[in-house]
């Protein structure tokens, strides 16, 4: 399978884009054309949407010369993302270890902090501090809640909103325990 010039076009990339850019562009467009995506709400009918997703998949496969990884693909039946997680092990508890929980989901998807930073526009340092639960170094709780929520959503965690609350609870409660 050879790469055609339009494959780069379809992913909105320059032909010299690196592998990280290709993966991000692919994931971004998969999210953009999910049936419930707000940004494309009723822009395409079902057939057009399927056509769009097919051509994104094909462009991605041609550029990589391979099949797309299973993890970032939402699959209604037999969720392969969950299966991948199980192979790696159980996720750390989101309430007692929210930072490790995030890192677990991120590594399970094979995504780097840098890639998350590009997608969410949150700095790598802050993302690192969030994962390491360096509460002292982090900005005000209101910002952290937004960041954690955004990060969790980027990882497609279904309970991103609740998760951000767990994180804040530990950040605020846990922080005072350390002080004492």
């Amino acid at each position: 399978m050879t790469v055609r010039p339009e494959d780069w076009e379809i992913l909105g990339l320059e032909p010299e884009a690196d592998i990280g850019q290709v993966r991000r562009a692919y994931r971004h467009r998969r999210t953009l054309y999910e049936p419930a995506a707000l940004a494309t709400y009723n822009l395409l009918d079902d057939e057009e949407r399927e056509g769009m997703v097919d051509r994104i998949e094909e462009a991605y496969r041609r550029i990589l010369g391979t099949d797309p990884p299973a993890a970032p693909q939402p699959s209604p039946a037999g969720n392969p993302a969950v299966a991948t997680d199980v192979v790696i092990g159980d996720a750390p508890d989101p309430i007692s270890e929210p930072g490790a929980h995030l890192r677990f989901h991120r590594t399970a998807k094979g995504v780097t902090l840098h890639e998350i930073a590009v997608e969410t526009k949150i700095g790598v340092t802050i993302l690192e501090q969030i994962e390491n639960e360096e509460f002292e170094a982090l900005p005000a709780p209101a910002f952290v809640r937004g960041h954690v929520h955004q990060y969790a959503r980027e990882l497609k965690m279904a309970d991103a909103h609740d998760f951000a609350k767990f994180y804040l609870t530990k950040m605020q409660g846990g922080g005072s325990e350390v002080d004492e």
Binding site: H28, L32, A39
Partner: protein, 312 residues
């Protein structure tokens, strides 16, 4: 163009049209604040209430309904649009009111629209901000397309996004209809849709590329129309981090689907003081200059008015 410009003015005003999509997303408030924000940069602005049949910019500005309005111009009670311009409490902002325009005025015919545009271009101001109504009437579409830039306003709600795409589709195809020569364009599109290329057409962008393969001349004409269609986009009432990306995502989707380049002008935060400014009839950009909404409006105006220099 051989217009009779007012003395000393050598350039035509830049026309910005805010409109389309859904009602209630904040078009009038945004148009008013864009005008006020431009005026604070010491440039003169005519704010035109082109929402014929539903005009109320005078109320947002806190002035009584002006005695002369756009309807008087359309019905030839006054001979020039300049006579309809009335001062407002904001320095450098003049209002062309559409108030009390009769319902039959809501759909000016082709000749009336051309006349309005001709007069708008000869107004003695630096900028014209048109507040168009909601919906996809030819009236709204034509002013949107005639402006230097049409600005579409959405809010992060499915109904608003849906209406925005409905509007963009209508505007896009109305723009493509201008491609010449008409008969050849029609024939080429027919050939694609009746031929084997049809299966490859999933989006308007595909249609253009298939037309290109059956008739390169028509293809080039369509591409020229499509690439000169560059509306601006404002996302209003943003109050969640997840909405921050909505503007850029819509830009990506339009690029994929229509093959057009939308200019994302900025997100405006949901701000209670904006509601208060409407209730108190004091434009936020004039009376609440420090609030985030107003600084976001300033950024929008910066993006809107900053363009590759174009001499006269």
């Amino acid at each position: 163009m051989t217009e009779n410009f007012s003395e000393g003015r050598t350039t035509v005003p830049r026309i910005w049209a805010v409109g389309g999509g859904k009602g209630g997303v904040g078009k009038s408030v945004i148009a008013t604040n864009i005008a006020a924000s431009i005026a604070r940069g010491d440039q003169s602005v005519a704010l035109v209430d082109a929402d014929l049949g539903g005009a109320n910019l005078h109320t947002l500005l806190g002035v009584p309904s002006p005695k002369v309005n756009l309807a008087d111009f359309i019905s030839k009670k006054v001979s020039s649009l300049g006579e309809v311009m009335t001062p407002t409490p904001i320095e450098n902002v003049w209002l062309v009111s559409g108030a009390k325009a009769l319902v039959e005025m809501a759909n000016p015919n082709f000749g009336q629209k051309s006349k309005i545009l001709r007069h708008l271009r000869s107004l003695d101001v630096d900028h014209v901000v048109l507040d168009l109504g909601a919906g996809t009437s030819f009236n709204v579409l034509d002013f949107f397309l005639a402006a230097r830039k049409g600005v579409l306003v959405v809010v992060p709600e499915p109904t608003s996004i849906e209406n925005a795409y409905h509007f963009l589709k209508a505007a896009f195809f109305r723009k493509l209809k201008r491609a010449e020569p008409r008969a050849q364009v029609k024939a080429a599109i027919k050939e694609v849709m009746n031929g084997s290329g049809r299966s490859k057409v999933k989006t308007p962008k595909d249609l253009i590329s298939q037309v290109w393969s059956v008739d390169p001349d028509v293809g080039a004409a369509l591409v020229a129309e499509a690439s000169s269609f560059r509306p601006g986009l404002i996302v209003n009432r943003v109050d969640q981090p997840s909405h921050e990306r909505l503007g850029e995502d819509i830009v990506s989707a339009c690029r994929d689907y229509f093959g057009i380049r939308i200019q994302f002008l900025g997100s405006l935060p949901n701000d209670k003081l904006v509601v208060r400014s409407v209730v108190e009839q004091k434009p936020a950009a004039e009376h609440f200059a420090q609030i985030p909404f107003v600084s976001a409006i300033r950024d929008v105006v910066g993006n809107l008015t900053y363009a590759r220099p174009r001499t006269s």
